[in-house]
């Protein structure tokens, strides 16, 4: 390390930012001077940031910008070895007379407040979760943190629904770059991939501005990894806990590889080297002897095993960084291992006489999942001069699910009691590297050039999914069944790459009553994907030669793999491999402009050229013609946000924009694919068109000071050709996608955050945050769909009409403690569309209650103990169809104790 902490004792640091009062944009090249000692002076950088080292004392800072009124910040207290924050807002000179004396902004101390300040000044409607809120809560990853944000619901462990709009209408950016997904059937990134320790802040943008990618409707989740600290940071933390359902229960697993516990398969599950990779295995292509040999290459490992020992949750992280002269470095590493048992009941229904009748009944559905997650961030920034900065950011996440599943119950398709055992392993990896530069040109009207080049790659590998299905005979024995999923070994992997260069030029202007920032930019998002799967199955030929009742590891023992016993058959489909690309070239021009003291307009145009190509080809039959589908569009997209300052602390916002939603690669592929996650047979539709969306927003917000706010919004979204899931009429259900006629979503959002000291002095240690969302949505379906789908008109899938969160906080400085209660409630929503007179399937209301208690062991917060209790009510996750149970489970209460230690203060 360049600097030893001891030397810091002599001085402290003042750091902060300068923002434009009208546009909220950071103002670069502002001269910051210490009034008491003018020899300490510095210019703000391209982000409007500055930092000055000063001897301890109380100071006043003056800010002087070329196009702004001067401003002062007083009462800045500098303590040795600490960082005092002093940010301010500068009024443009053009705004003249009505602007009174610039408010003397006190030192902004908490990042939560800074987040709110950013919201206040933001050109678009947004909500944010700050690092502080992330750390303070129970959230262990980005997805969990977002559950507490206004209008956000998180579905299926990490897929974010903003304002109830499904993942189709949400987009994710990491450090201002589009990131690829690790899920073959999904279009967005599961946010639970990102450990909380790696995340600095998450912002949800709810209105569109032309500098954002056009695939936007519900919202854009904008994540930032850890930022450069102003003082050296080195923090260790560890968490250990147990879950009421999992820890002391019989937990399922299976013998795997030696590195399973860290989330890396060591090759144990790989496709054996002897299996040809360019030819399908079938009789005729290979001799019986060859097929027998192939069948014996796979390891005989089919049976789940049980562990009865205690399995605690554990997680560890280290975060460190500092600023060393012109160089800023920050890094974080985290690891967690969490077992979870899902003890479910499931039912499936069909209709008879207009009423549901039970078709399948699984009373014993035990899914044991051991999840590991490793993450790392390494960011470096170098300030070449005050006006030139380079940043290099690297993010890596890696996770794995080791799953052992046993289902027992009555299956209606087989008409009998079955017992299935499935072993699964999924490994996901996502990395993103970006190099960014920022250059301010004082000789070019203080214009700023930003550029960024990002390369991201995600992979998902699901090797050797094994499943055996047995049926119960009248004598009670379970016999191996010759079913298409029984005796199967399934391998698949996905790779998604994105190259994304972007450049943006911004120039401020000041002309009389008009002042603001003009921005223009270009972004290319070049995405490619390759997906490949192989499926194999052991099929019994001459079943009479095999003891079909033997345990699975005996059933598939080498002596039972022979041309007159079990024969390995490859069932890879012609659609199991596809390559796809999506090239989007976008340009925008926009202006962020204050008109007089009250109005601010942010508006402009974006043009996007998109070219999507999906090529499905059978790699195992040389010479087959690939099936191609393509979608080429050029879209001009206008957007306008108007902000009217009712008072100094109150804003009114209005926004209109046109945005898009493009079909996913999978949805365009003309062939069948089986949804890996749910087992549903799904087929794409090459004729899909993109959806056009018109968005209207109105919002009133009242900033009460500090991190207090009251806000209310109304929004309306009107969809043209929305892409909706449908079901085709075949002998079995088959899911596909169509462009529905139209859809409309409208709703209101309310937010309230206040320190209760306002109401009574006794309550000054208490704070309350709450938010509430109501959404009304209607999809209008084409006539022919009305024959199959039960609801002719309904809410969008995944849409909850009501969402609310309440966070109550009690800070007791004397005890150095902080307690928070969280209540998160999501009302019932459709998860699957009902067909053939069966009603839609709803997930019932979930209300989750969490509690966190934090105790600073030492005054200087070097040692912090945190205790958390999650899911205190042991919420019952429950799905129903026509008021009949469809699925339910409880995840149990989780109790954790964590300890963290910071090396530096």
């Amino acid at each position: 390390m360049a600097q030893s902490p001891r030397n810091e004792g002599a001085t402290g640091t003042v750091a902060g930012s300068a923002f434009d009062a009208a546009s909220g944009a950071p103002v670069p090249l502002v001269k910051v001077t210490v009034k008491e000692n003018p020899s300490f002076t510095i210019q703000t950088d391209t982000n409007g940031k500055f930092a000055i080292k000063l001897p301890p004392g109380t100071y006043t800072l003056t800010f002087a910008g070329a196009n702004h009124m001067d401003a002062e910040v007083d009462q800045v207290i500098v303590t040795a070895g600490e960082v005092a924050e002093a940010s301010t807002v500068l009024s443009p000179k053009g705004a003249v007379t009505t602007v009174e004396v610039v408010e003397k902004v006190g030192a902004v101390q908490s990042t939560a407040e800074a987040s709110l300040a950013e919201r206040k000044l933001s050109g678009s409607v947004s909500d944010a979760v700050s690092n502080e809120e992330l750390r303070g809560g129970t959230a262990s990853n980005a997805a969990a943190a977002l559950e507490k944000v206004t209008g956000v619901s998180v579905v299926d462990n990490g897929f974010v629904y903003v304002r109830g709009l499904g993942e189709r209408y949400s987009a994710t950016q990491l450090n201002n770059a589009v990131i690829p997904t690790t899920e073959p059937e999904r279009r967005v990134v599961p946010l639970d991939l990102f450990p909380a320790a790696m995340i600095d802040s998450i912002r949800i943008l709810k209105t569109y501005s032309p500098d954002l990618p056009a695939e936007f409707s519900g919202g854009l989740v904008d994540m930032k990894t850890v930022e450069f600290p102003n003082k050296p940071v080195l923090k260790f933390s560890g968490n250990m806990g147990f879950n009421g359902v999992t820890t002391f229960n019989r937990f399922g697993t299976y013998p795997g590889g030696g590195r399973d516990v860290f989330g890396f398969d060591d090759g144990t599950r790989g496709l054996p080297a002897g299996i040809p990779d360019n030819r399908r295995l079938f009789q005729g292509q290979f001799t019986n002897q060859q097929l027998t040999d192939f069948g014996r290459l796979f390891p005989v490992n089919w049976e789940p095993t049980a562990v009865s020992s205690m399995r605690p949750n554990q997680s560890y992280s280290v975060t460190g960084g500092g600023t060393f002269g012109r160089l800023g470095l920050v890094g974080a590493v985290s690891f967690s291992n969490k077992p979870q048992l899902y003890d479910e009941q499931r039912r499936f229904y069909r209709t008879s006489g207009g009423r549901p009748i039970e078709f399948t009944r699984y009373d014993d559905f035990r899914d044991s999942v051991e999840q590991t997650r490793t993450g790392g961030v390494f960011n470096a920034a170098i300030r070449l001069t005050a006006a030139n900065k380079l940043v290099f950011r690297n993010t890596l996440t890696h996770d794995s699910d080791k799953e052992s599943r046993i289902i027992a119950g009555y299956e209606g398709g087989i008409d009998g009691d079955i017992l299935t055992e499935r072993l699964r392993w999924v490994e996901r990896n996502l990395r993103s590297h970006s190099l960014e530069g920022e250059h301010a040109f004082s000789n070019l009207k203080s214009s700023i050039l930003r550029w960024q080049f990002t390369y991201s790659r995600s992979t998902r590998n699901e090797p050797d999914l094994r499943e055996v299905i047995r049926g119960k005979l009248p004598d009670g024995r379970f016999q191996f069944l010759q079913q298409s999923l029984s005796g199967q070994r399934f391998f698949n992997n996905l790779g998604d790459d994105i190259y994304e260069p972007q450049v943006e030029w911004g120039v401020p202007f000041y002309k009389g009553a008009f002042s603001g920032l003009f921005r223009a930019g270009f972004r290319a998002t070049l995405r490619t994907r390759d997906f490949q799967a192989r499926r194999f199955r052991y099929v019994p030929f001459q079943a009479s030669n095999i003891n079909l009742f033997a345990p699975s590891n005996q059933l598939f023992a080498p002596e039972n793999i022979a041309s007159n016993r079990f024969v390995l058959v490859e069932t890879t489909r012609g659609t199991d491999r596809y390559d796809a690309s999506m090239d989007v070239y976008a340009g925008f021009a926009m202006v962020d402009m204050a008109i007089g003291p009250k109005w601010r307009l942010v508006g402009g145009f974006r043009v996007e050229d998109a070219n999507i190509q999906v090529t499905t080809i059978d790699p195992l039959v040389p010479g087959t013609q690939p099936a191609r589908s393509s979608l080429v569009n050029r879209d001009p997209l206008p957007a306008l946000n108007a902000i009217y300052a009712l008072t100094r602390r109150q804003n009114l916002r209005f926004a209109y924009s046109q945005t898009l939603s493009r079909p996913d690669f999978r949805e365009l592929s003309p062939f069948d694919f089986t949804n890996v996650v749910g087992g549903f047979n799904t087929v794409g539709n090459p004729d899909l068109r993109r959806t056009k969306i018109q968005n209207f927003d109105a919002r009133w917000e009242w900033f009460l000071g500090g991190n207090q706010i009251i806000a209310a919004s109304y929004f309306l979204k009107s969809f043209d050709d929305p892409i909706e899931t449908t079901v085709q009429a075949v002998a079995d259900f088959r899911q596909s996608f169509i462009n529905a006629d139209s859809a409309r979503n409208q709703g209101i959002e309310l937010e309230y955050r206040q320190n209760l000291g306002k109401w009574s002095k006794k309550l000054s240690q208490f704070a309350l945050q709450s938010n509430f969302t109501y959404v009304n949505s209607r999809v209008t379906l084409p006539e022919e769909q009305a024959l199959i789908l039960t609801s002719k008109s309904r809410a969008l899938v995944g849409q909850s009409p009501f969402l609310f969160n309440v966070i109550a906080e009690w800070v007791k400085p004397k005890w150095r403690s902080n307690s928070r209660f969280y209540v998160n409630s999501v009302s019932r929503r459709i998860t699957d569309v009902g067909t053939f007179n069966l009603p839609d399937i709803y997930q019932e209301r979930n209300t989750i209650l969490d509690f966190v208690y934090q105790y600073n062991v030492t005054e200087d917060e070097r040692w912090v103990v945190k205790f958390s209790a999650q899911n205190l009510t042991d919420n019952r996750y429950r799905w129903t169809q026509a008021d009949l149970l469809w699925r339910q489970f409880q995840t149990g209460r989780t109790f954790e104790v964590g300890l963290s230690f910071s090396l530096f203060r």
């Binding site: 009789q283 008879s352 209606g412 049926g471 058959v569 087929v683 079995d732 022919e784 024959l787 053939f836």
Partner: protein, 597 residues
């Protein structure tokens, strides 16, 4: 009402009720208490099956004829005669010499006198061909294109009377022609070529695909989507074979050796039409294939003509893509009344042998052998008729159900209801639990299915011979929609623990309430040994009733005179004295012709 019924039962005097909450059917006391035994072999005639090394040959190639002869304990002196018939000309060439004058298999003419042999059992022996034990002379294929029949006859010691004949069909071709892509204009496949069906071959655009009698088609293995012959709603098939020259659709390649083929090698024959089904959409898509206008079926045209298939064998077809999503040997989806289907064999089908999705099409003289799943499967509103249907399973290859009928899996009360009329059934199970569905009854109605099933012999199933599953299906009996008359049940429930050894154990009596008169029709149910000649000689079965069989009793109803049914078939089962499966079918079990690995 109740009193009236009781009174009538008392008056009837000899009637008893089977156990259960409600009467299942009326049977005589004698029939109800008769102990049920197992199906046995009742003929001691010689049995025999033969095969050549492959299906099609080029002129000049060498042929080897193999066979198995089982004298079944009969030590009578026989003579053996083998010949090849050119089915285009009817000319015979006696093997091994190849002359037109009759010789025995050793080359002796009648004048010389046929050699008298006592066969103690020949198993997978080379009968004619190089290195053969019987007639070691090689046989060369002449330049006579088309289908030929190899026949081996076991004759009496005089050489005059044929005791047993076995057949094997081969083709002589100029070469192979590959069929790929769509057939958009009328096309005829001639029998002097062998055809390879590669991928989805769709007949459309009002085209008619004509297949000459005696033509071989080979569904290429390993392709995805599977190789299928797809007759779309805008196409028709005209595949009209004859007893001597059936059309054979099999798998793999022309040169693949006999015994090397497997179930599921290729996709099969799919016929789609515009007749209605009960899916609540104007059209639906056939399972097993990619959705497109070509894979849609359904509509309102109850007279739709999918074409004619007659004397056609489909072998080793059926690909399972996912649960409940598969192709079969023969599929009719939405085919209408003008469709003709007769003398068809499904041999080693993966999944079902014959499957109907909706539609109104009829079929008769069907042979289902060694299906992996069900032998006759219907669903989604099929209202056609079937007469003369035989199903055979074996324990080595297993299978599931004789008939599996659904109204609709999705909506048990969807309309139009599945409601076929079936006469003259012989269903012989493997006696083992189902391979993919443990419950494997002979006749299985579920999910609201209606059916009229008359004159059936149901035997040797692991589950009960008749199984009515669930209340929605039971309701169809109670409301008089499902009718059965003349059902002989014997030797079923073989894998059913504690099944009563009487008629009661032959049906799933807990669910079934099936009574004459007010509550539906279940007449002439009989637990009696059908005394079939030799139903379990799998590679050479004989399903005809032997002396003393109840099939021969004059107590059974006759099919209606409606232009489709053979009205004279007033007996249970698919056979009386004529074996209509002779010559054009194949029953060989894989294990009985297994090629060397």
């Amino acid at each position: 009402m109740l009193r009236l019924r009781l009174l009538s039962l008392l008056l009837a005097g000899t009637s008893v009720l089977l156990p259960g909450a409600e009467p299942f059917l009326e049977v005589s006391r004698e029939d109800a208490v008769r102990a049920v035994g197992t199906l046995e072999q009742n003929s001691t005639d010689v049995s025999m099956w033969i095969w050549a090394d492959k299906y099609v040959y080029r002129p000049g190639e060498q042929l080897t004829l193999r066979g198995t002869i089982k004298p079944n304990g009969d030590q009578s002196p026989y003579t053996l005669v083998a010949y090849r018939t050119n089915n285009q000309t009817g000319e015979r060439s006696y093997l091994p010499g190849g002359g037109a004058d009759a010789t025995d298999i050793f080359g002796n003419t009648l004048e010389q006198g046929f050699r008298i042999v006592r066969v103690s059992g020949l198993e997978k022996a080379v009968l004619v061909g190089d290195g053969g034990a019987v007639a070691p002379a090689a046989v060369s294929i002449p330049e006579e294109f088309g289908m030929h029949t190899l026949t081996v006859e076991v004759r009496d010691f005089t050489g005059g009377r044929v005791l047993k004949a076995a057949y094997f069909k081969i083709g002589v071709v100029r070469g192979t022609v590959e069929l790929t892509g769509n057939i958009e204009a009328n096309r005829t496949l001639a029998n002097d070529q062998a055809y390879i069906v590669r991928g989805v071959v769709a007949v459309r655009n009002n085209a008619v695909l004509t297949i000459e009698p005696g033509t071989f088609l080979f569904g290429q293995t390993g392709s995805q989507p599977p190789s299928v012959l797809l007759i779309t709603r805008t196409g028709r098939i005209n595949a009209s074979g004859t007893r001597a020259r059936p059309i054979i659709m099999t798998s793999r390649l022309p040169e693949s050796p006999t015994g090397s083929r497997r179930r599921g090698d290729w996709g099969g024959l799919l016929m789609l039409g515009s007749a209605p089904g009960n899916v609540p959409a104007a059209q639906s898509f056939i399972e097993g294939l990619t959705q497109s206008p070509d894979t849609q079926w359904g509509g309102t045209d109850t007279n739709h003509n999918c074409g004619t298939v007659r004397y056609v064998r489909s072998e080793y077809a059926g690909v399972q893509l996912s649960p409940n999503n598969e192709t079969n040997n023969f599929v009719w989806a939405g085919c209408g009344r003008a469709t003709v289907a007769e003398y068809l064999q499904s041999y080693y089908g993966n999944d079902d042998a014959f499957e109907w999705f909706g539609g109104t099409s009829n079929a008769k003289y069907l042979v289902a052998t060694y299906a992996e799943d069900d032998n006759l499967d219907f669903q989604l509103g099929w209202t056609g008729s079937v007469q003369h249907f035989v199903a055979l399973q074996n324990p080595a290859d297993r299978g599931n159900r004789g008939i599996e009928g659904d109204n609709s899996e999705f909506d048990n009360t969807a309309t139009p209801w599945s409601n076929p009329t079936i006469f003259n059934l012989t269903l012989v199970g493997s006696g083992e639990a189902g391979s993919s569905e443990p419950v494997s009854p002979g006749i299985y109605l579920r999910r609201g299915a209606r059916a009229t099933v008359n004159n059936a012999v149901v035997t040797n199933w692991s589950s009960p011979g008749l199984f009515i599953d669930g209340a929605p299906t039971q309701a169809q009996i109670d409301n008089n929609e499902t009718k059965m008359n003349g059902i002989i049940l014997w030797g079923n429930s073989r894998g059913t623990a504690n099944a009563p050894a009487t008629l009661a154990g032959q049906v799933n009596s807990t669910d079934v309430t099936f009574a004459e008169g007010t509550r539906g029709q279940g007449r002439r149910f009989l637990a009696m040994n059908p005394i079939l000649r030799r139903a379990l000689e799998w590679s050479d079965p004989d399903f005809r009733p032997a002396m003393g069989s109840p099939v021969l009793q004059p107590r059974w109803i006759c099919p209606p005179d409606n232009g489709f049914f053979d009205q004279n078939a007033c007996y249970p089962g698919a056979f009386l004295d004529r074996d209509w499966t002779e010559e054009w079918t194949i029953y060989h079990r894989s294990v009985d012709v297994e090629a060397q690995p």
